[in-house]
């Protein structure tokens, strides 16, 4: 591992010219407001567009200009890329087809690509066969297939340029995430936290597909790429070596999960990538305790700041030591420049799985703000700002309550108060816009045994809508919120019948967009959340709303196609906690509103 890293550093130096070129390309593309060149709109993960042709005054005239069926059922996450060549590039869930569509010719297929994958990968994907989309740089498209094959396609022709295996699905490793291109590397994580895998983030050379570095989420420092003397934790060097081993019961780190399957963001000035790691292996906390006491299980549910050139870890912040609820820490790290207590700070904001909105300093990893954006959150009362640890409530601690005990009414659910659906940030308002989940759970851990390639879960859970207050929509399971990341306050909130599982978009047209599980795309006034426009797509939306301009016309594009964990959990509706006590059925079943089927819908204003 170290030898490879050393070589890579040397090679990077020798190839400085091509490094600059590749880096330049993605950066230049995303700085052009007419393009949507990376899944989150820019490296900072802001999902913000400077375009304002479609705005508060005319959005009611927005109409669909064409639709394209992908021919694939299952959940469609991610969204279309536009890099100025008159085409939209889209992808599908398994079998992970890729299409280049002619934007000017109502989505005519310019080329398509379909990988040949072992269908045995399907049942080892925990939460539907989703994929969060393509990456692009320098005429190449990059796709992480479900079976862990990372491929590069020629964007002009759709020809396969190279492929490389990033994991083994027969031991439960899979891929759902969108890679990110930084410099001359394409960076990709892995899924499989429910199968006892050992998570990692890996960088491959964009030209050849050769592995450059790999940093694990658990295990010895030299494999995590931590230096305890220089890697920071809460602004100070970690000090102690190999916490990725010593904070686990004997050997458990080898199946310790920490799968980084969410979004990666990047700060070009600091030259650091940011991402979070998932749950620590089995959901039964008892099997991760040491001598009957909670153990930190590092570095699961941790924000990593790494040098993209060699993978070295600049800082770490563990959001949830000793997880007891499957609060995967993979949510996107929005890089935002803010004023905090009178000082300009380079911030990193998270609408976290846990129900807490966090703000960190992205240079040092210090915790600045941690407040609840989902007020029903009860697993922890607050965060200790000195230690950076949550103050966990014993009543909702599935470890304290015990194995084979059903701990009830924990908020939020394992789906998180927000899951993978990426938020948006408007530098004009200083607010984050996010679709969130308002669901709680009962959670019962049980003893489970590790068998390679079999689920390694060890908990059963059931879900119910979160309690409501003050005349909020009864039985609602989601909201779309505007969050002030510095004040740690919700500014406005719109309730939705189902969890809002689509990625948000904020624009300079004073609009925020999102999709609903029933299949509506909605545009709301960015100032107050008032709905200004909606369109019903053929299926529920778990994809992201993207926007771009071609030949002077602004378009909005979104993939619909219900599925994902939301589709598994909500299709039949949730259990009514009042059932048997005479309550009426306010709890909706998603299956009554929408069915499967992937469609890309493209919108524009009339000529």
């Amino acid at each position: 591992m170290l030898r490879v890293t050393g070589f890579a550093v040397a090679a990077t130096g020798l190839l400085a010219a091509s490094v600059a070129h590749a880096n330049q390309n993605q950066l230049e593309l995303q700085q052009n407001p007419e393009y949507w060149a990376t899944q989150l709109g820019n490296y900072q993960g802001n999902r913000f567009s400077e375009l304002d042709q479609i705005n508060r005054d005319n959005v009611n005239e927005l109409r669909s200009v064409w639709q394209f069926s992908t021919g694939v059922l299952r959940g469609h996450e991610g969204g279309p890329l536009y890099v100025g060549d008159g085409r939209l590039y889209i992808h599908t869930p398994f079998p992970n087809k890729v299409f280049a569509l002619d934007l000017e010719d109502e989505g005519r297929v310019v080329w398509s690509y379909e990988p040949d994958q072992d269908s045995r990968v399907i049942p080892v994907m925990c939460c539907d066969t989703v994929n969060r989309g393509l990456a692009y740089a320098d005429g190449r498209l990059f796709l992480g297939q479900a079976d862990n094959t990372l491929i590069a396609l020629d964007a002009e022709s759709g020809d396969l340029l190279w492929d490389v295996s990033n994991g083994d699905h027969t031991v439960g490793e899979t891929n759902t995430m969108s890679p990110l291109v930084v410099h001359d590397k394409v960076i990709v994580g892995i899924s499989g936290g429910e199968y006892g895998i050992r998570g990692h983030m890996t960088a491959y050379d964009v030209e050849s597909g050769e592995m450059v570095w790999r940093g694990y989420s658990t295990g010895p420092d030299d494999e995590v790429l931590i230096d305890p003397d220089t890697t920071l934790m809460l602004g100070e060097p970690i000090g102690e070596a190999d916490l990725g081993v010593s904070t686990w019961p004997e050997g458990e780190w080898e199946r310790g999960g920490g799968a980084p399957w969410g979004w990666v963001t990047y700060d070009p000035d600091l030259d650091l990538i940011y991402y979070g790691t998932g749950n620590p292996g089995t959901w039964n906390p008892d099997q991760r305790a040491i001598d009957g006491e909670p153990a930190d299980n590092k570095w699961a549910i941790t924000v990593f700041a790494r040098d993209p050139n060699n993978g070295e870890v600049k800082w770490v912040y563990q959001k949830v030591p000793f997880d007891e609820w499957d609060y995967d820490g993979v949510n996107e790290n929005q890089l935002i420049d803010i004023e905090f207590e009178g000082e300009e700070r380079k911030g990193l904001a998270i609408i976290d799985r846990t129900g807490f909105g966090m703000l960190l300093d992205r240079e040092t990893g210090e915790l600045l703000v941690a407040e609840k954006f989902a007020p029903e959150t009860n697993w922890a009362d607050s965060y200790d700002m000195e230690t950076g640890r949550p103050n966990v409530s014993d009543e909702y601690s599935t470890f304290r309550q015990g194995v084979n005990v059903n701990t009830t009414d924990i908020c939020p659910t394992a789906m998180g108060a927000k899951n993978m659906q990426p938020s948006a940030y408007s530098p004009r308002t200083g607010l984050i816009y996010a679709g969130i989940n308002r669901i709680c759970m009962n959670y019962e851990p049980y003893e489970t045994e590790y068998v390679a390639g079999q689920p390694y879960v060890g908990a059963t859970l059931t879900m119910m809508p979160a309690p409501t207050q003050n005349g909020e929509m009864e039985g609602r399971m989601g909201s779309f919120i505007a969050w002030d990341p510095v004040a740690g306050e919700t500014v406005w909130e719109v309730d939705e019948r189902f969890a809002v599982w689509s990625g948000a978009l904020a624009t300079a047209g004073d609009l925020a967009f999102y999709g609903t599980l029933e299949g509506h795309v909605k545009a709301v006034d960015i100032e107050n959340g008032e709905e200004l426009w909606r369109f019903k797509t053929p299926s529920g939306i778990i994809g992201n709303v993207n926007t771009f301009m071609h030949e002077g016309k602004q378009y909005v594009g979104v993939l619909s196609g219900v599925g994902g964990w939301a589709g598994i959990g909500l299709a039949a509706g949730l259990e009514d906690p009042e059932e048997g006590l005479g309550a009426v059925g306010v709890f909706s079943a998603l299956g009554d509103y929408t069915k499967l089927g992937g469609v890309l819908t493209v919108f524009a204003l009339p000529d």
Binding site: I122, N406, G567, G591
Partner: protein, 165 residues
């Protein structure tokens, strides 16, 4: 102990595979529904017999992740209550053991290598029948009190037996 509990229904399983058993459900009185044959069950005032309860646990551990809460199906895999009604015991047991490729992109895995699931197929079937024919509601059922004691006695006996081995 755990292993004994998991496998206690195997004789029923073996018997049923021989195909000698027919199934039917009967409303014994207003509050009690029983089903005979493979996947026998008792539902009484919303409570169930211990095997059906075991079936609920196995379902939530092994099946719910794809088939959705309470057997009701999801966007990923079908409603199992209806599957049981339509296809019957042999098809149900066979599919769990062998898996099934429904269509490209839709695959049911084989549980042949999972002794916990394999040993509990009859209990799973009981739970599904209880949900369908038996009119059992959603959520975690409770065990009929009088049978709870029997169940505990049986467990203790099994524990003693395994301790003697």
């Amino acid at each position: 102990m755990t292993v004994c509990v998991r496998f206690r229904a195997i004789p029923v399983f073996a018997l049923a595979l021989l195909g000698f058993v027919t199934t039917h459900a009967a409303a014994d009185d207003e509050n009690r529904m029983t089903g005979e044959g493979p996947g026998a069950f008792i539902v009484e005032d919303g409570k169930v017999d211990p095997n059906t309860y075991e079936g609920y646990l196995v379902y939530t551990r092994a099946c719910m992740a794809c088939h959705g809460p309470d057997g009701m199906g999801s966007s990923f895999a079908p409603n199992l209550i209806r599957v049981v009604e339509r296809r019957g015991w042999e098809n149900f047991a066979g599919t769990i053991a062998a898996g099934r490729e429904v269509q490209p992109g839709q695959v049911m895995p084989s549980f042949a290598d999972d002794p916990y699931v394999m040993g509990n197929i009859p209990n799973l079937y009981s739970y599904m029948r209880a949900r369908g024919e038996g009119g059992l509601g959603r959520g975690r059922p409770r065990i009929i009190e009088s049978m709870q004691e029997q169940d505990e006695e049986k467990d203790e006996a099994a524990e003693e037996a395994s301790a003697e081995d």
